[in-house]
């Protein structure tokens, strides 16, 4: 009654808390000024994977990330929360990858793990918000995909039932394994670290895999494997519009509202 689960994860700059110090005077981004965090929806994905493991005892959860060597921090974090193991896919030849080249590299790595029953991942990462890598990994592995997962309804060695969050409602779907599932932020919150797992694993070496370890077609990696190119980047410059500063007093606000009513902006 056990299955093999892979969870995809990404370490991202915390774009939710971009302060003024994160932008250089030239309007470019100073990445080093941003803290690196575990992509939030990837933690929801980890949680769903751990629940599957609890329902199917003996199952294993392996966490895979691609990034610089320091991304091992999030593998460690996942192990402290209950994952069995994990590795970092790190190589300068992966650099500059768009979602297509990223999904290619990740799918090569997952294929090296042999037969996998379920691949979980967050719906999207907060530094790109594309939601593309999950479905692209599914296509490259030639397995079905369930995106926008919100709730694990049931799971067996043969199939999984998931409640999905749609733009205008929800649906419950059932797919045979193997399958790839992307999990959204409205799914159950991730569990905390276990103290004993932290103590047990804090000196654990996290393996780093290079491109050579995953046997890829090198032309499909990194910049050369990326069809999309950034033509230009504009920093956002705000030009001050002529605006009227209204004082926060009842009189001033009365005249603002009566002005809007007179001009038929408020009915």
């Amino acid at each position: 009654m056990s299955i093999k689960i892979v969870v995809l994860a990404k370490q991202v700059p915390d774009t939710r808390n971009v302060g003024p110090e994160a932008m250089t005077p030239e309007g470019t981004i100073n990445r080093s000024a941003l803290p690196a965090v575990y992509n939030p929806e990837d933690l929801n994905a980890l949680e769903m994977a751990l629940r599957v493991k609890e329902l199917l005892p003996g199952s294993t959860v392996t966490v895979v990330t691609m990034g610089p060597p320091r991304a091992e921090e999030i593998i460690r974090e996942a192990i402290y929360r209950g994952a069995d193991d994990g590795f970092v896919l790190s190589d300068r030849r992966f650099a500059g990858a768009d979602t297509l080249a990223t999904s290619y590299a990740i799918s090569c790595a997952v294929k090296r793990l042999g037969h996998v029953d379920i691949v979980f991942g967050g719906r999207q990462a907060i530094d790109g918000d594309t939601a593309q890598v999950g479905p692209q990994v599914a296509e490259k592995m030639d397995i079905p995909q369930i995106t926008y997962a919100e709730e694990l309804v049931s799971v067996s060695e043969k199939e999984i039932r998931i409640k999905r969050r749609l733009s205008n409602g929800t649906e419950v779907v059932e797919a045979p394994l193997p399958v790839l599932v992307t999990v959204c932020g409205s799914a159950p919150r991730p569990r905390f670290r276990h103290a004993h797992l932290l103590l047990q694993n804090r000196h654990l070496e996290i393996p780093v895999w290079t491109a050579d370890d995953v046997n890829p077609d090198f032309d499909r990696l990194g910049l050369s494997g990326s069809p999309t190119k950034v033509k230009k980047v504009d920093s956002v410059v705000l030009t001050q519009k002529d605006n009227i500063c209204v004082e926060n007093t009842q009189e001033a606000l009365n005249s603002l509202i009566s002005n809007l009513v007179t001009n038929h902006i408020i009915g």
């Binding site: 700059p13 774009t15 939710r16 971009v18 994160a22 981004i29 979602t99 297509l100 530094d127 790109g128 594309t130 593309q132 890598v133 479905p135 692209q136 599914a138 296509e139 079905p144 369930i146 995106t147 926008y148 039932r161 749609l166 733009s167 205008n168 409602g169 929800t170 649906e171 419950v172 779907v173 797919a175 045979p176 990326s226 069809p227 999309t228 190119k229 950034v230 033509k231 980047v233 504009d234 956002v236 705000l238 030009t239 001050q240 519009k241 605006n243 500063c245 209204v246 926060n248 007093t249 009842q250 009365n254 603002l256 509202i257 009566s258 809007l260 009513v261 902006i265 408020i266 009915g267």
Partner: protein
């Protein structure tokens, strides 16, 4: 072929979704610019009035796959149809709504065709490009423009070497425009069996709960939107009262939705809805780019914020520096005395 292909999404009542009509309107302009045709791919089951719905928005050719396996939407059957059609017809550009359907389907197709795809574009233009490394010139390619990196920059993305060039666009970003009520085109009926594989049927839809009404903030002429500065879900209640009083709807920034102050069907901005009301009242919203792209075309903007330097103030017509919990009740008083 120089053609533009739009993936048509069908809503619960069997009608073409608004986002698809918006994309047809945009697609028509892009097709005219490239001197090509606008094609629409529809995958569904027993749909009525497709011609009346699509031709006025500039569609030249409707490619219609009619099969019970295509409704409700499931990834693999739609993937096989759209992927097959793109291979046959070789469009220059393919556009999808950035909905839970389009964002599920488009990346899988991009992966299979090994072409570029840009998510959640806020503008699409045609222009030239010179590759900085090779010096190679590209003529009339698609500029896919979107805010990136937490909205601190706006990036122009191109996919010069691969075809088709694909993009997803959120509902409300493009304007829905009737080109000509009496416009006519042609329908090509597709044989779904030619495209569908047996294994496409492997996923079963067990049940669906769809809210056909939903919240229509896109159609509202007044929007009272709250941000992280509202502080709590309880404080949001005040916005509902105020909006109700002045005949408006309540919207929210992503930060407010993430904080749990408001449900995500009211989210305005790049990853929510784009709105163009007559009046937009931003309450405790700092105004990151992703939010501004979703509301900056509003007729009049009022910003209420404790921070005089909040970016939203730069695009506001009126700024009120103060605590929303103090300002909103005063605005409600003002409205009531004005109406007496």
């Amino acid at each position: 072929m120089n053609s533009i292909l739009v993936y048509i999404e069908i809503n619960e009542s069997g009608r073409v979704a608004d986002v698809s009509l918006e994309l047809c309107s945009k697609g028509r302009r892009l097709a005219d610019r490239l001197g090509g045709e606008l094609e629409a791919i529809v995958a569904g089951s027993n749909l009525a009035d497709l011609e009346q719905q699509l031709y006025p928005y500039g569609v030249d050719t409707i490619l219609y796959a009619n099969d019970p396996r295509l409704s409700p939407y499931r990834t693999l059957p739609h993937f096989s149809i759209v992927d097959g059609i793109i291979r046959e017809r070789q469009p220059e550009v393919v556009l999808y709504g950035a909905t839970s359907v389009g964002r599920d389907l488009a990346p899988r197709i991009a992966s299979h065709l090994r072409c570029g795809l840009t998510a959640d574009c806020t503008a699409l233009e045609i222009g030239d490009h010179t590759d900085a490394k090779t010096g190679k010139d590209y003529h009339d390619i698609l500029y896919q423009i979107r805010p990136a990196f937490g909205g601190n920059i706006v990036a122009t993305i191109v996919s010069p070497e691969t075809r088709p060039q694909m993009a997803t666009v959120r509902e409300g970003v493009m304007r829905k425009e009737v080109i000509d009520e009496n416009r006519k085109g042609t329908v090509v009926n597709l044989d779904a069996n030619k495209y569908l594989r047996n294994e496409d049927d492997c996923l079963k839809v067990i049940s669906r709960q769809i809210d056909p009404q939903g919240v229509d903030i896109k159609g509202a002429s007044i929007i009272v939107a709250g941000g992280y500065g509202m502080g709590s879900r309880e404080n949001f209640e005040m916005l509902y009262k105020f909006a109700n009083m002045i005949g408006g709807e309540v919207g929210a920034s992503r930060a407010a939705v993430d904080a749990g102050f408001c449900d995500n069907d009211r989210q305005i901005g790049q990853t929510g809805v784009t709105v163009r009301p007559k009046l937009y009242i931003a309450c405790g919203i700092s105004g990151a780019v992703q939010h501004r792209v979703g509301m900056e075309q509003s007729g009049q903007i009022i910003s209420i914020n404790t921070d005089p330097d909040a970016p939203i103030n730069a695009i506001a017509d009126y700024t009120i520096i103060g605590d929303v919990c103090e300002v909103i009740p005063r605005l409600m008083n003002a409205y009531q005395s004005c109406k007496q």
